[in-house]
Amino acid sequence: MKRIIYLVSALLLAEAAVRAQEPVSFSREIRPILSDNCFSCHGPDELQRKAGLRLDVREAALKPAKSGKLAIVPGDVRKSELLKRINSSDAGEVMPPPKSHKVLTSAQKQKLRQWVAQGAKYEEHWSFVAPSPVKVPSVRRKDWPRNPIDQFVLARLESAALKPSTEALKPVLIRRVTLDLTGLPPTPAEVDAFVADTSAQAYEKVVDRLLKSPRYGERMAVDWLDAARYADSNGYQVDRDRELWPWRDWVIRAFNENKPFDQFTIEQLAGDLLPNPTLEQRVATGFHRNHMLNEEGGIIAEEFLAEYTADRVETTAAVWLGQTFNCCRCHDHKFDPFTQRDFYSLKAFFHNVPERGVGIYANPIRQNAPPFVKLPSPATEAKLAALNGKLKAVNGQLTALTNRSVSGVEEWAQRVASAVVKWEPVSLLQASGGDQPPVIDASASTLEVGPQETRPNTVKLTARLPAGRLTALRLECGTTATSASFQWSELKLGQQKVRAIAWGDSLASGETEKVLDNDRKTRTVLAMKPERPVHAVFEFEPALAAESGREVEIEIGVENAGGPSRWRLFATDLQPDLLTPTAVEAITRKESAGRSKAEQQQLAAFRIAQQPDHRKLNDELGSLKKQVTAAENEIPTTLVMEEQKDPRPTFILMRGAYDKPGSAVTAATPAVLPALSPEMPRNRLGLAKWLVSTENPLTARVTVNRFWQQVFGSGLVKTSEDFGSQGALPSHPELLDWLAQEFIRSGWDVKQLLRLMVTSATYRQASRFTPALRERDPENRWLARGPRHRLMGEFIRDQALSASGLLVDQLGGPSVKPYHPPGLYEQITAGNGYNTYVPGKGDELRRRSLYTYWKRSVPHPAMLLFDAPFRESCTLRRPRTNTPLQALNLLNDPTYVEAARFLAQRMMKEGGSTEEARLTMGFRLLLARPPAPAELKILQAAYARAHADFTKDPEAAKSFLAVGSAGYDTKLNLTELAAFTTVASTLLNLDETVTKE
């Protein structure tokens, strides 16, 4: 270690010595020192400013401070108080003060002194100055550069006396570029074709093929989904589903169609404000509906509207401007010249959306919070039109039936009034189901259901019915809790068809039917008190004959139970048309003359509804309604931006608090940046056009830097999310500016930009460290070698699926649920049905990872363990860690165990007949190159050992092969397959496999 420190410092000192003669660069050398150590008290934030001294602006810095002293006297190091204070040994005087825990190094102090001596020149922060035309530098070594990128890189290398690395071997190169542009490994055939192609343009041909692949859009979308904080759930505590995948698919299409980045920007920020916007352009605006949405009970809408709009401001500023605007939500920025007014002026662009601020928890899950658009397929539209036609017709018939007069109402009413209903108790024999099994009491008449918190639950009951003919069954539900609410979703009585005919207390007619509709999602909430049981009467259709079986299986679907509830059952042989709800019965007991008109109508309506023809039509109506609902539920919706007619007023919020409005602001772009042209509208469209205008110094730089980061692993500006004064300086400033200008010149052509990067000699270098490089440039900032870094979690999984032949390459569509550790949701989320993760089936298990359902409170571990963000806010750079939990995931997740098995099958079926050929095949499927002799030897020994081992333990082989749902080819020798599977699993876990080499 000491040696490294020594070397690094020697290097720094040598450089410093050279530079001592050179003029000090404010941007490169001074601003970072001042920003990091001084600006938080002497910077742009007026409220925090101490001693009346401001150092980020020259005129202010040269003025006397409150004390009357001059911090900086250009050219005069003795009169400059700043230099005195930074060198002071008095704790009360020294700057930065000890309390700040900031300490200047002597090199920094020296630098500041030199700067003052040279006249204390200021420069505007580099990223706020529009790039000026850059001359491509000349280099000594003429044979290396393939395009201008290489000249910039080589010039820098030559100035540091470093040499570029040799070109990577062809298999390595094609794997690198295929992973970078599609997120998948190349097939052995693609590798062979490339190796065999000796033409000068062989590599360029590969690149062009990859850029045309639909897989390209999928790969490119992943980084953009992080930036846009895309997820399939609303976030916060409740975190229910939302629907925004049509926007995600828009992104994939946009990349595949190579939509120019300026248009890509305009449509996502303001597609709805374009003249005659297409549905596609409106879908694109989902970008700024990706923020979280709080559905928690009791929240204050204004508070969360303030959160969502702030999120839009911060995301916009980070993605397009590379600025940390979150700082100026509460106060002026401490390091960069952005004010709190700038923040809220930007917010005004995003504040006119007709949104409520809170989700509606009572809404069905998956129902998006307005505004949203529906995206029905033509087939669904046709189906709905047909169903609605039928529905109208049946409704008409039913109205006609209801309006006819029926005779005999009075006679029937008298029979109801005088009927004596005898309810015989049903004996309960056996009960099961639920976390806490239901209990039958000693008299066999009452069933007590404990509280079920964790999941939808079915209580199964065997009951003995009383003797004789039976016409109806009554269920009674009560509680011992002082008050309780309880959800009842289903009732099933063996094969017996039943119809709800009467109900009482907290049950209404529509609700009784909800328990018969065979749909667990529709429920009735029973609010109960001990003294007030709820009851419902169901008619047997047809009646149970006396000789029919007396034992019946009853199923009661009980959802999230709020308190212990008791069930009792009774049966009767009374003629069922005499069984009525309490309210109807009360009317029948009145003298006919004493009934009001409304009561008479109610009575007649109930009588009519009992008639067979009415029942038949009613059933038909119910069935049609269900079909309409089902068809409507099939229609995807997607969240969009819209503009309110009357703009909401926007205020500066003091300390960022929603309930502390200060002065009003109108939509405006940040004052320090080039102004928004007066011809532009002061709305999102104007803002979007301003972002991609040629005068904007940031957008193109920030964007090309992010694409560079995607390909080279790290941006030219390492802090790709922060181009402000606390951000890193560009490693190759001229290259960054040249690329930005080239990008604009090309018409914001993303594919062209990527092509330029990946066809450069810089990109094509081998990625080996050499001892010299490891010491001089461990982070590869100077690019004397090719990029080498761990793949994102998505692509590690995609690669495994692809190489094993399991990958389903369907483009787009609703998110899917692959394998998932059981019980993960239940332990963390609320205990409701929708919070159970139900893995998909078949193809859904094997789609590309960007289609995996993303729940913000519990993101899929295959992604989260590999540093994926929660997608709660904009993320522009993922960390790349290396942890034991990742190892466990790749070793033991059924996804990878299954992929290993299928990889083994390919090795056996496609690899040829020899063991060597088969092992080589597996190696090539993942790593593109064939194994070296030493590697092959290890693989052969591994296979031989596993084979011998499984021969002795065939049961182990069998259970190992049974993991997952995809099965295996039973024609293969099981012992061999199991042995190859262990080797394949090892291959999937290699450092080289999870790494872009």
Binding site: S35, E296, E872, T883, S985
Partner: protein
């Protein structure tokens, strides 16, 4: 990152890297993570606590029915809370529309306990035996009034997600004492009673912008205490060992070729994963605990995944040197039926909590373990919904609530801070969550103003720009 943990990390790497790599362990560590050196700061003072056990009571337990004794409320039964007391406190949408704010005195009797005479409600008979060990802070306050922002603030010092959890900061600051276990472990339990279990969020034990190696690892009660810990069926530990040896042999060749320290780090991580495969099940296996242990923690402790079982696990984790052990027990959100809800929650938590304190004390661990018990905010003195003599509900209340601390460096047997007669406002010694966190870090030997991490150009802290150490609660 402080020096001791760095040395730990180095020696661990050194132990693993053997010599085949040809690269010094120290250089390796610095290359893998140059930040380790950048952030190096030795502890400013001797730590009192080596570890924290945070018994998080999610959903917000009512201070009025557990800790904050207000005998005067009896005479205010069903009278409106005076507007002067309520002041400008914002209300949640759940009670903002209520016509009245009737005062609901606690149905529970309070008694003084121990030599110190600490007041506690009858719902906590077991905890009461430790009255002289615990310090109740009755004047904690927060800004958030909804669960998610409040829990996020409690965990990360900020209402909006994205910052590291307390445990992640400690893990970052001090590293792990055990080479086979993570430094930060989270354990979750559900209530046994019929109550509303507020959902949690993986971010609550997440590492925020810190590297994810510092994130909390959640141990669950299922087949795999840690995600993907078990080998697939048919793969015995011996087979796994052999497979890992193959992978390591191949990775070594790769390392020799490419010289990337990440490759060496990956070899190490696979070794650590292998060790975790035996260390974690051994840890999670309670079957060898003597029978009387389960008697102490109560009948629930035999059921995996309960708060009681998690308390036993907490002790085992503490014994094995895990730095930050965070339990979450859900179900404290008593908007209605509070008396029965609190009884049920106390049934779940009181005995096991006391048993944990007793065991820590008995084994000499309480001296260097800081135990914290509490939730994300308090509850209102007025009833949400209908108030009767024996039933009421309480809405969220951020202005004051109670938690307690015990163990390393804590002056037990005292109540710190005071609220007004309605437990609605703090009248003496307010303690903000930032102050609590600053104090806890202080006990761990970390200066909360120095434990920083540079993100987006700013040096972030757990306590943001706030936090004062609450000295009177310290010995």
């Amino acid at each position: 990152m402080s020096l001791p943990s760095l040395q730990n990390e180095l020696s661990r790497r050194h132990f693993l890297s053997r010599s085949a790599t040809g690269i010094g362990a120290a250089a390796l560590a610095s290359l893998v993570n140059p930040r380790l050196f950048a952030a190096t700061q030795p502890p400013s003072f001797a730590p009192k606590a080596k570890r924290i056990i945070w018994l998080t009571q999610a959903g917000a337990p009512s201070q009025l029915d557990l800790f904050d004794h207000k005998p005067g409320l009896a005479s205010h039964f069903d009278k409106d809370l005076p507007p002067s007391v309520r002041g400008e406190q914002r209300l949640t949408g759940m009670t903002a529309g209520q016509k009245r704010f009737p005062v609901a005195p606690s149905v529970f009797k309070f008694q003084q306990h121990g030599q110190s005479g600490l007041w506690l409600a009858e719902t906590l008979p077991h905890t009461a035996k430790f009255a002289d060990d615990i310090c109740v802070i009755r004047s904690l306050h927060t800004e958030a009034i909804n669960h998610d922002p409040a829990m996020t603030l409690l965990q990360t010092g900020h209402q909006i997600g994205g910052r590291p959890a307390f445990g992640a900061w400690v893990s970052y600051g001090l590293g792990s004492e055990n080479a086979d276990l993570p430094a930060f472990v989270a354990l979750i339990s559900r209530p046994s009673g019929p109550t509303n279990a507020q959902p949690l969020h993986e971010r609550m034990w997440g590492s925020g912008f810190l590297p994810s190696r510092y994130q909390g690892v959640r141990f669950s009660s299922g087949k795999d205490p840690v995600l993907f810990l078990s080998n697939p069926p048919g793969i015995t530990p011996a087979r796994r060992r052999a497979m890992l040896d193959d992978a390591t042999a191949l990775n070594r060749l790769q390392f020799a070729e490419y010289q990337d320290p990440e490759t060496q780090a990956r070899i190490d991580q696979y070794e650590l994963a292998f060790r975790m495969q035996s260390a974690v099940p051994e840890l999670a296996d309670l079957s060898k605990e003597p029978a009387d242990i389960f008697d102490r923690y109560g009948p629930e402790s035999k059921k995996p995944g309960t708060y009681a079982a998690n308390c036993i696990l907490a002790r085992r984790l503490a014994e094995r040197g895990v730095r930050f052990i965070q339990l979450y027990h859900r179900g404290w959100d008593q908007h209605n039926n509070l008396p029965s809800g609190i009884r049920s929650q106390c049934h779940d938590t009181d005995q096991p909590t006391a048993a944990l304190l007793a065991e820590l004390k008995g084994r000499g661990l309480l001296e260097d373990t800081l135990v914290i018990w509490g939730g994300e905010f308090g509850r209102t003195v007025y009833s949400q919904g209908v108030l009767t003599k024996d039933n009421y509900g309480r809405d969220h209340h951020p202005r004051c609530y109670s938690i307690w601390l015990a163990g390393a460096g804590i002056k037990g047997g005292q109540a710190y801070g005071e609220t007004d007669d309605f437990s609605y406002n703090i009248v003496k010694d307010p303690v903000h969550i930032h102050d609590l966190n600053a104090t806890a870090l202080h006990l761990m030997g970390l200066d909360h103003t120095k434990l920083t991490y540079r993100f987006q150009g700013r040096d972030y802290r757990l306590t943001d720009v706030h936090g004062e150490i609450v000295k009177p609660v310290l010995t």
